[in-house]
């Protein structure tokens, strides 16, 4: 049992965006980060992946954690502005957008703290993992790395497997999968 599961069984809520009870621990979004205390030293771990043990002291809400979660939420907000789960957690951690910094004012334009193109994908991997682990179809996968990393449907496989399934659509926290799928459909007919 992981720390996250243990916390949920006793009614302690830890924020997550990439968690799914049927899928193997993954820890992509890092929102589930908690502090574990051992011999007066505290350490940050992803509660989604860390195994629970007897007598372990775990802190789920501290100043340090809310700072970390705030930054993570902002980074994700820059990629997927205003999506529902981010707004929800945003209320809790006092974020309504990406912070602006006055020093960055160029002309009349206020530059955002994190400059990036909104892709409406936070790379939680729910769709990819669900397709691989539960459906075993491998119709959607990650390509690229770093800032170029993205999720794509593989037209050849998607044409065969996705028509009757589309179960990943409802898993996606940002709802960007239908347009991705439409793109794959177009390129598979070529």
């Amino acid at each position: 049992m992981t720390l996250l599961e243990a916390a949920r069984t006793v009614g302690i809520d830890i924020p997550t965006l990439c968690h799914h009870e049927k899928l193997a621990p993954y820890g992509a979004c890092r929102l589930c980060t908690v502090e574990i205390v051992r011999e007066q030293h505290s350490r940050l771990v992803a509660s989604y992946c860390y195994p629970a043990e007897d007598g372990l002291v775990v802190k789920t809400e501290t100043n340090r954690l809310s700072k970390i979660r705030k930054i993570l939420l902002e980074l994700m907000w820059a990629r997927a502005p205003g999506i529902a789960p981010l707004r929800e957690y945003g209320m809790r951690y006092d974020i309504t957008g990406v912070r602006t910094i006055r020093e960055f004012v160029i002309g009349y334009e206020i530059k955002t703290r994190f400059e990036t193109e909104p892709t409406f994908c936070i790379l939680c991997g729910l769709c990819v993992r669900y397709c691989a682990e539960i459906k075993k179809k491998h119709a959607i996968g990650f390509i690229g790395r770093g800032t170029q990393r993205e999720v794509v449907f593989f037209p050849k496989i998607a044409r065969k497997e996705c028509t009757g399934c589309r179960e990943c659509f409802s898993l996606c926290p940002t709802g960007i999968l239908p347009p991705h799928y439409a793109l794959a459909e177009v390129s598979s007919t070529k």
């Binding site: 990819v128 491998h138 119709a139 996968g141 990650f142 496989i157």
Partner: protein, 155 residues
């Protein structure tokens, strides 16, 4: 240009068609063929029973793999700090002009591919340009054309 699937099969067999050697197989084919074609990737997926998504995941992650054809001679110009202050941007410019391609590109005759890197770890040789595995150090702009020409002629 494209490595035949029988040749790829030979390489796969050399590694015992074991999916644990996927990256080794990919590297081997990359070395022989200088790129990984779509057909090759699909073939790996079938022979090694690894999902195609996973193969793309790996092939697009490591810079050692290329999904587009690369030239016979890989030309690498160092733009690290030490090379930069000794004028490597001019070297790169000259190489671009000679080959008619920009960094990341490949000449249409597939002889040369050009790229820039941020340090090769041999700053004492700067400015440095690597062609294939040979390091050309302490370069001047006037030598670049000559060196590239010598590679272009050999066949």
């Amino acid at each position: 240009m494209v490595l035949e699937l029988t040749k790829i099969d030979e390489i796969i067999n050399k590694y015992g068609a074991d999916k644990a050697f996927l990256i080794q197989v990919l590297l081997h084919v990359q070395r022989e063929n200088r790129w990984l074609s779509k057909d090759a990737l699909i073939h790996f997926s079938e022979r090694l029973s690894v999902p195609l998504t996973q193969i793309y995941h790996i092939a697009t992650f490591y810079k050692a793999f290329s999904l587009i054809p690369r030239g016979r001679h890989q030309v690498t110009v160092c733009l690290g700090t030490a090379c930069h202050v000794r004028g490597s941007p001019h070297i790169l410019e000259r190489a671009q002009q000679f080959l008619g391609i920009s960094p990341g590109g490949t000449t249409p005759d597939l002889k040369f591919s050009l790229k820039s890197v941020n340090c090769l770890g041999c700053c004492a040789l700067g400015p440095v340009m690597v062609v294939g595995r040979k390091y050309h150090g302490k370069l001047s702009v006037s030598k670049v054309g000559e060196i590239l020409q010598s590679y272009g002629q050999e066949e």
